[in-house]
């Protein structure tokens, strides 16, 4: 069975205005998400994940933001729609789980009413049916006492419960595309497992596509079909999840994986985690020519980097930005442990 393409992003550039000048936080991102597919975007804080997610829903403040490129959802260019057209799609066809639940929830409205509002807007269920569906949704996200939470305001809930309430709103209309921006970051692992399970079920049921934004590689390994690794506004590597975990190539991907504490690490007192030298530069200081990751691996000779890095397809569907990955080795390793061709 061939899965239909849900979302196609071509060369997206999202820039923020700072002191009168525009600086791209998303800088030339292209990706495709199919029906029934979990597309994960990983990367550290500040690399542009949320800026990308908010661009898809066109939720940035137009006074300070410039969005260029194309975003096709089921063939329709989202960037060309007016507000009424967009509002129809938001919530019904595309559900968004925001990173920060407090800003996404209405502080003056009870949780039950907020779920029902979305149902009113996008379905024609009766009042009774809406209430039943709201309870179902709250129970589905693992809220222990749905009828109590139904009547509570956001400030009366713990962080984890707020997150779950927001997820139930995002899923209320069974959207065909779900954008989940760090949906489980603030949650305990057992609740995280529960919520990821819920997303998987939803996906099976209505074949939604899911864009899963996270900095947790474990969540990626568990959920994703395809993965894009983001650094400084660009996708530096993209591959099928099995391929990415068994054969990570870009220096940034490999560094991230090495810095992750795991079962094997920490067995002896001497075990140290890998640390990536330097830090993610701010938008104003980001260099935009050449390889953006090169300042953080200064022991790799500059002639191994491309002047204008392009994607290299190393295996079908596995793309890596720049040629430096062929010569990369960790600083503590001896030079040239492997040359990848």
């Amino acid at each position: 069975m061939i899965e239909k393409e849900l979302l196609k992003i071509n060369n997206l550039v999202t820039s923020f205005r700072i002191n009168g000048k525009y600086y791209p936080a998303v800088d030339g991102v292209s990706l495709r998400v199919k029906e029934n597919e979990v597309f994960a975007i990983v990367g550290e804080s500040g690399c542009g994940k949320s800026a990308l997610a908010l661009s898809i829903m066109n939720l940035h403040n137009p006074a300070f933001t410039k969005i260029e490129g194309k975003i096709f959802f089921k063939g329709q260019d989202l960037l060309k729609l007016n507000l009424t057209e967009l509002n129809k799609i938001r919530g019904r066809d595309i559900g968004m789980i925001f990173q920060d639940p407090l800003t996404a929830l209405n502080p003056l409205m009870k949780i039950g009413a907020q779920i029902e509002e979305s149902l009113t807007f996008h379905t024609n269920l009766s009042g009774k049916e809406k209430q039943r569906r709201a309870m179902e949704l709250l129970e589905g996200v693992g809220i222990e006492n749905p009828s109590l939470t139904y009547d509570q305001f956001p400030h009366e809930l713990s962080g984890g419960m707020r997150q779950r309430a927001m997820i139930s709103i995002a899923l209320a209309c069974k959207p065909s595309l779900v954008i989940a921006d760090e949906p489980t970051t603030a949650l305990d692992v057992t609740i995280q497992a529960q919520i990821l399970d819920l997303l998987k079920k939803l996906q099976k049921e209505i074949k939604s596509g899911i864009i899963l934004i996270t900095h947790d590689l474990g969540v990626v390994a568990e959920m994703a079909d395809r993965v894009a690794v983001m650094y400084a506004g660009q996708i530096v590597e993209t591959a099928d999840v099995h391929e990415l975990f068994s054969n990570p190539l870009h220096p940034y991907t490999r560094s991230l994986m090495a810095s992750m504490p795991s079962k094997a690490s920490g067995d002896t007192q001497e075990d140290r985690l890998h640390v990536i030298q330097g830090m993610v530069p701010s938008l104003l200081l980001q260099k935009r020519d050449g390889c953006r990751f090169s300042p953080r691996i200064p022991w790799i000779a500059s002639y191994y980097h491309e002047e204008n890095p392009v994607y290299h397809e190393v295996r079908p569907g596995h793309h890596v930005l720049c040629t430096c990955f062929r010569h990369f080795h960790f600083k503590e390793e001896r030079r040239k442990s492997r040359v990848i061709t």
Partner: protein, 308 residues
């Protein structure tokens, strides 16, 4: 003699109600826990949100009034010092806080932040103090120029390292680290964890390491206690807890850890469903009629489980 010994610690918060604001009940945040930490050892304290981890840490450092129980530090009962900031006990035990953004005073220079405990406990000349601060900054990998800057000029990882420099200023023997890396990115987290291990070796430090991230706990801790509803459901070494969990709560927690190998996905799911079923079916066997956690029973030398 253990470095730290906690005996039947309880911390209850009063719930006030009615027009007179009388106490109408208690939140039993910590409800009878006992444990020991040896010199140079790391005990991991793990549990879901609200299980009482921070309250435990704060009670030990004296920021929270103890309802019942005893705290022995190097054999001495220190319950009497609780709340007294300048006691000799407070020299030996320090805390690193979860929130790197609010735990450093934004109006103070790094020099003043790091020197604060020195000023409380020692009388140093300006030059001596500056020398000590520079040494401390060097230990956590920050340059001496750092001293005259303000917290907002640093990244999250750097701020957490400033917090560590302050915590080790008095050469404590125990540090309570409450979610020290939860707010940090993977590579920054790696940096802070590495420093914490280096310092531990250097000073023979013991940690009470509070976290809900089991990957981090696995990396840092030799012994682990699992907390639920203010009590310990299980306690043991890393091996016991991760490979041989006995309490249904621990089993479910361990089963929920994502596996880093995508090809094991199905396997993980099947296992998780199995554990979840067992959890629903046998819950009552692991909790009292009032849904409370039983007292710990000794299973083997080091492995304790809350069973009837």
């Amino acid at each position: 003699m253990s470095l730290l010994e906690i005996k039947d610690l309880k911390v209850y918060y009063p719930i006030r109600g009615g027009i007179l604001g009388r106490t109408i009940g208690y939140v039993k945040a910590v409800d009878g826990i006992s444990f020991t930490i040896e010199e140079g050892e790391t005990l991991g304290l793990v549990g879901e949100s609200g299980s009482g981890k921070s309250t435990t840490g704060k009670a030990i450092i004296g920021l929270e009034r103890i309802t019942q129980g005893r705290i022995l530090f190097a054999g001495e009962n220190i319950t009497k010092y609780v709340g007294k900031n300048h006691s000799p006990y407070r020299r030996g035990v320090q805390m690193i806080f979860q929130d790197v953004y609010s735990s450093l005073n934004p109006k103070k220079r790094v020099l003043d932040i790091v020197a604060e405990p020195l000023r409380n406990f020692e009388t140093l000349t300006k030059a001596e103090e500056r020398k000590r601060v520079d040494e401390l900054l060097d230990i956590v990998g920050l340059s001496p120029e750092t001293a005259i800057k303000y917290p907002h000029e640093f990244s999250g990882g750097q701020r957490q390292r400033i917090g560590i420099a302050r915590a080790i200023a008095l050469r404590p023997r125990l540090i309570i680290a409450d979610e020290p890396v939860s707010a940090l990115d993977l590579s920054v987290q790696a940096q802070v964890l590495n420093y914490m291990k280096d310092i531990q070796q250097h000073f023979k430090l013991a940690y009470l390491f509070i976290s809900h991230d089991l990957g981090v706990v696995q990396h840092m801790c030799s012994n682990i206690a699992i907390m639920h509803r203010g009590r310990f459901v299980e306690q043991g070494n890393k091996e016991d807890i991760f490979n041989n969990p006995v309490h249904i709560y621990t089993k479910r927690l361990i089963a929920a850890i994502p596996d880093m190998d995508p090809s094991k996905r199905e396997e993980t799911q099947v296992f998780r469903d199995q554990v979840s079923l067992e959890y629903d079916r046998n819950f009552h066997k692991y909790y009292t009629a009032k849904n409370q956690v039983y007292d710990l029973k000794k299973l083997s030398d080091n492995h304790y489980v809350a069973l009837p």
